[in-house]
């Protein structure tokens, strides 16, 4: 119940800053649209289209990416490192009888829901006008399992991002590290292009990392590119990564909070 109140409070805050949230969404919208235009030009130039990669798949992929980028990609690390640790606002969380993790978790959810809503609206509008272009799975089992996969993907991303932000316990400036991780996510989570288009040796290496499970696999799951068995395997792997990143968070938090000092008048 208490976490519901935290969620509702932050929900109010988000709706006060609707324009700011919309600007964030426009930033998420722009890159996939440009990539789609680029691929459209590439296909017109005579790039060999396969059953796995043609303009329909590209359109579905990038429009689903807009929703995924809005809904599943928190940016907790910036708030955690800068506002909470460096500016000392962590104190107000530490003295409260709630775990810091769940505070940040329920603070982030309203942002994701609002941006996800914008993404969904864009997707529905595109679906209405260009229905023939889109390739989405028609199987309800696949859709349900894809939703489960997306929830796990969100938790995985959140755990990684909050752990990244907590590195600020040990260093005054983690901007370079945040930028590096952001770029790794942009490439390895499939924001640039679907990972199955990469050379197979590179793609297989990337699949061993947690990043494809954040965005890429949930997106192709909704496209119906994974069978039921593959989806279940995906969920198992994602659960493993969620567990690993949770343990990572606990370890970093327990070590880092001992180093944290805050002072004031």
């Amino acid at each position: 119940m208490r976490f519901l109140h935290i969620f509702l409070l932050h929900n109010q805050q988000i709706f006060e800053q609707r324009t700011k949230s919309f600007v964030w969404f426009l930033g998420i919208l722009l890159n996939p649209l440009i990539m789609l235009i680029l691929w459209g030009a590439a296909f017109k130039s005579g790039t060999h289209q396969t059953t796995n990669w043609n303009f329909s798949y590209a359109a579905s992929y990038y429009f689903l990416l807009i929703i995924a980028g809005s809904l599943l990609m928190p940016h907790t690390e910036e708030v955690v490192s800068k506002e909470d640790i460096q500016e000392g606002q962590l104190t107000k969380y530490v003295i409260r009888p709630f775990p810091y993790y769940w505070f940040k978790y329920f603070e982030e959810i309203p942002y994701r829901l609002l941006l996800g809503l914008y993404g969904l609206i864009i997707f529905i509008v595109a679906l209405i006008f260009y229905q023939r272009l889109f390739i989405i799975s028609q199987s309800w089992e696949i859709i349900v399992l894809s939703i489960v996969s997306s929830i796990l993907a969100y938790h995985l991303t959140f755990n990684l991002k909050i752990s990244l932000g907590l590195i600020a316990f040990w260093t005054t400036d983690i901007v370079a590290l945040i930028n590096l991780v952001e770029i790794i996510i942009l490439v390895f989570a499939g924001f640039v292009m679907p990972l199955d288009l990469l050379p197979s040796n590179i793609a297989n290496l990337i699949y061993m990392l947690p990043f494809p499970y954040m965005i890429y696999f949930p997106v192709i799951a909704f496209q119906g590119k994974l069978s039921l068995i593959q989806l279940m395997q995906l969920i198992v792997v994602q659960s493993g990564w969620v567990l690993t990143t949770t343990l990572l968070y606990i370890y970093i938090w327990n070590k880092g909070i001992k180093k944290f000092t805050s002072f004031g008048q």
């Binding site: 800053q17 680029l38 030009a41 130039s45 790039t47 005054t172 370079a176 590096l180 770029i183 490439v187």
Partner: protein, 262 residues
Amino acid sequence: MNRYIRIFKRFFLLNLSQFLVYRANFVNSLVSDVVWGIFTIVSMLFITTRVSNIAGWSKNELLLLSSSFNMLLGIYFFFFSKTFWRFSETVHFGKLDTILLKPIDSQFFLSTQYSNVTKSIRVIGSIILNIYLLYIMHIQVTLMNVFGFILLILTGLVILYSISYIAASLLLWNSNLSNLMGLVWDFLAISRYPKEIFQELNTYVFLFLLPVSLTVSTPTKVLLQKTVTGESMTLILIAACLFIIARLFWQFALRFYTSANI
């Protein structure tokens, strides 16, 4: 004019000394810039594993375009990134008051007070990569090509600056939009793709994107020794118009500024 040059030099030296004092931040920033620069090239490399040609641009030409984009962005971020990033804060916390009270043009002051020295690494890296790509493409670049490239890159810089300044001026109406410049930079990143890919779009959309799409495509075509007289003239004309619009819009926006100071 001499006064403004002296002030600009003083700002630059102050920024440089600040960077050198905080060496860890300097190194962090440098690493960050190298990584972003590499990302631009690597993402284009990944795309070109699947396609050999996009809108008449071959793989190496697309890499040259990405490298030239890095160069332009490096110069832009060197001079203006910190300024525009802090614009929202400057307006929101009333710091603009002290700037407006100074006996100096406010746009000049705001545009030059910060510089980001580490961004030069992107420019240096791009120059090296451009030379390498031109070498493997067996293109004999003349002095005229180089001069034309530099001139058009600087023209592109004026366009990027003008668009950013127009967007920043909007903050005088809503200073809370601290993420607006991030959106503008995402928009300006369109310039890393060939202009031709936008020609298939709706005319109004294409015209809206034209200023940005020309900024890197046109100078890169000069290096590739393609005929671009029409595009170059268009680029220069757009740059001049946008600069004047940015100036006039800033003057107009200032009328609506109310101080936050007590």
